[in-house]
Symmetry: C2
Subunit: 212 residues, 2 copies
C-alpha cells in the first residue's frame, strides 16, 4: 500500500505533517502502508505557507499508483485551482485510489477535480462561505467528514483527527490506538480565550462550547 | 524577536512542525516573533525520522541570536548526545535565549547541555525510565512542564499544546486564542482503544483516563 501526500508551493505545514506523522506511525507500529511519499508538480525543494522548506520526492510523471491520496491546504490552493496539470493529477490519482482525503482548503482542489461531486465535505472555517457557494457539494461543519471513500477535514490541525479516524476505519480501532499512543496524541483540548465564540456557526465548535 | 528550531537528521516530523505552525500563526495573526527559523549543524536538506526531507536555513555559525529556542526529539537524539558542536550550540543559544523549549526526547539534548540542571521537566513516555535515571533533573509526567524559562513537553504531538501554553504566557491568553482559532486547534480528544491503559503510570494520562 502507498500513502501519497500532494505538495505545492505555499502548502500549510501542519496540514500535511499532522497526517504524515499519523500515517508514518501506522506504518511503523501497526502494519500501515509500506510507502509514505510526497509528490508535487516539480520534484525537489518547495517553500510552505509559513516558510519551511520541504522536499517533494516524486513528480506527477514518476509518482507510483497511490492507494491513499491526501491533499492538504493553504491559501495558495486558490492559485493551484487554475493549475491544470495539478488538477488532472489529482483526478487521475483519485480515480485509482481506494480513499481520498483532504485537510483545510485542500477540499477545494478535490472539488475542482470532481472528487466531491454530490458529497458531504468540510474545510477550514475561514472558507465555509466560499465552499458553500460551490456547486454540487454539501458543507457539513464537523471536524472531519466521511462520505464513502472521501474524507475531508476542517482547518490545519484537524487533519490529525481525521487521519486517526481514517486509520481506525481502515485498520481497526487497535491500530488507531497504537498510533495515538506512539505519537502521544492525548491533547489537553484546552480552549484559550474567547476567539472561538466567533465560530459558533460551526457545528462542532458550538458543541465544544456547549460542553465547557 | 527570533524563534529558532533546531533540526538534525532523524528529527521527528510532528515534534517540530506542530510548534512551528503555532509560532507561525502567532507571528501572522497575533504580533508574534518577526523571524521563525530552522538551524542545523549543516545547512540544507536533511531527512526526518519518518523520511520527510526538510531544509535547515541556518547553521551553527550563521544562526542569528535566538530569543526562543526549541529542540525537538526523535530516536536520533541519542546519537546527537555525542555531537559536541550540537551540544555546544544549544548551550550557547540557550544562554542568550529568553526561553528554551523541548519536545519529546529533545529534553535529553537540553539536559546534556546543562539547561535542565535542578529543574522539573518531561519527555516522551517511552523515555521516562531513561530520563528518570539522569542526574540533576526531576521528571514530572505532565503533558508539558514549565520551570522558570524552560519548557519541556511529552512526546511528538504534545509540542503543540506546550507551544500554545507558552504563547499564552508570553503574549497573553488572547494571542493564544487567536493562534488556536487560525490553526483550528480544537481537537476532538477522542481516545481510541486501550493502548493508553499501558500508560497509567503517566500522571496526565491517568487523569484523562479517570475522566473517561
Amino acid at each position: 500500500m502507498t500513502f501519497g501526500i500532494l505538495l505545492f508551493p505555499g502548502v500549510e505545514e501542519l496540514d500535511f505533517v499532522g497526517p504524515w506523522e499519523m500515517a508514518a506511525m501506522w506504518s511503523a507500529y501497526a502494519d500501515g502502508p509500506k510507502e509514505l511519499i510526497t509528490v508535487a508538480q516539480t520534484k525537489g525543494t518547495l517553500r510552505c505557507a509559513k516558510g519551511l522548506g520541504v522536499i517533494a520526492d516524486y513528480d506527477f510523471e514518476d509518482c507510483p499508483q497511490l492507494d491513499y491520496l491526501l491533499v492538504p491546504g493553504g491559501f495558495s490552493v486558490f492559485d493551484e485551482l487554475g493549475n491544470e496539470p495539478l488538477i488532472k493529477f489529482v483526478q487521475r490519482a483519485a480515480e485509482s485510489a481506494k480513499h481520498v482525503l483532504s485537510v483545510c482548503s485542500g477540499a477545494f482542489i478535490l472539488h475542482k477535480a470532481g472528487v466531491l461531486d454530490g458529497k458531504n465535505a468540510t474545510t477550514h472555517w475561514k472558507a465555509h462561505e466560499q465552499f458553500s457557494a460551490l456547486p454540487n457539494v454539501n458543507l457539513v461543519s464537523e471536524r472531519w467528514v466521511r462520505d464513502g471513500n472521501t474524507w475531508t477535514s476542517a482547518g490545519v490541525s484537524a487533519g490529525i483527527d481525521m487521519t486517526l479516524a481514517f486509520i481506525a476505519e481502515i485498520a481497526g480501532e487497535d491500530a488507531a490506538s497504537i498510533v495515538q499512543m506512539n505519537s502521544e496524541y492525548y491533547p489537553d483540548a484546552k480552549i484559550y480565550g474567547k476567539a472561538h465564540k466567533d465560530l459558533l456557526h460551526v457545528d462542532y465548535i458550538k458543541k465544544l462550547d456547549g460542553e465547557m
